[in-house]
Symmetry: C2
Subunit: 207 residues, 2 copies
């Protein structure tokens, strides 16, 4: 099962300098749909775990208004410990079906697969150990490595730029336009007037 947690209430507050609240909700919704499409392409059961109802998705939506960590951990606790549970962040518009396949191919019994995000985050987990619990605060990739080892699980990391590129800060928008222009999120940014501005440093997106 692939679980996609989603903040349906106040998503993407760190984009407030470049997008207003309605735009942030629309952009976050586009990214969620990109991730759901990628997960469905991988032909697994997909469920969205949202803090409020989300309309118009092609997959079931479970509403849980608690913070990310306890909401995800309840799902992990309910899992049978045999079939791995993948937890895939909803702000990964560069992820496509083959990327999700690569993530799931790393799953194994008694193993926790980690796809690190930029800046020490955890953008995907595939939990194949019944005692592992997530903790998304702080430098979570280090905490998840330690938590997996503390329950006796093997740790595997998936080395993927597409999985690592969560879109949180204005500096991330260029990645969407450069590497996923045909995604819903990429088309939303283009329609909103964003383009890529390159110099000899890293490219930035602006309108």
């Amino acid at each position: 099962m692939i679980l996609v947690p989603f903040d349906a209430r106040r998503p993407k507050t760190r984009l407030a300098d470049v997008l207003d609240a309605d735009e942030r909700r629309a952009f976050a919704d586009a990214m969620l749909r990109d991730v759901v499409s990628a997960a469905r392409a991988a032909d697994h059961e997909v469920r969205v775990l949202a803090t409020a109802p989300v309309a118009g998705l092609s997959v079931p939506v479970d509403v849980d208004d608690r913070p990310l960590t306890p909401a995800v951990n309840d799902v992990l606790a309910d899992a049978d410990g045999v079939d791995p549970v993948a937890v895939l962040t909803a702000d990964l518009p560069l992820v496509d079906g083959p990327t999700v396949e690569r993530l799931l191919a790393a799953a194994a019994p008694e193993t926790v697969v980690i796809a690190p995000g930029l800046g020490g985050g955890t953008n995907a987990l595939v939990v194949g150990h019944p005692a592992f619990r997530a903790d998304y605060h702080g430098v979570s990739v280090r905490d998840h490595r330690a938590a997996a080892r503390s329950v006796g699980a093997t740790v595997r990391e998936v080395d993927s730029r597409r999985l690592a590129t969560d879109v949180d800060d204005p500096g991330d928008l260029a990645e969407v336009l450069i590497h996923a222009p045909e995604s819903r999120a990429g088309r939303w940014l283009a329609d909103a007037g964003f383009g890529v501005h390159g110099d000899d440093g890293r490219a930035a997106a602006g309108r």
Copy 2:
């Protein structure tokens, strides 16, 4: 053959806010040695292409004081067009031997393999087409895709966070400490007093 271009004169100027000129040279040298070690682990011929002599490396150093693009393109022009030439940036301390193997495994005749960097850059190329030339200015990953297609080459992209993480800006230093603490670059940063500071955004490195 794996070519590692290196600016031996004024490396890493964008780190000037956190490292002085001597520190930037020492840190750049540590990263170069990490990349050379990773490339040697992949068991291919490795050459460094530097703008000035570099002492103490275990591989040949060719000195060419021109900018990156013409210096690399002369090597591509001299290649026989049969054996692919890999061009691997010198500021990738997260790259290890298996990552280089994965890059080289994507090589094929009439194919240009691209490993994108963050912000539209190109951190690695594996050039298997005799007519392809590099251009490292601007949003080079888009230019390299177009240049490959314009000579009739197939484009393949390698999806690797480790290859994507070039260390240019102060914000990149945390990646080294989190994901490559045992590299020469990671140990250099720790010895220089840098540590990771996490909050609920992306982690940062500071001292």
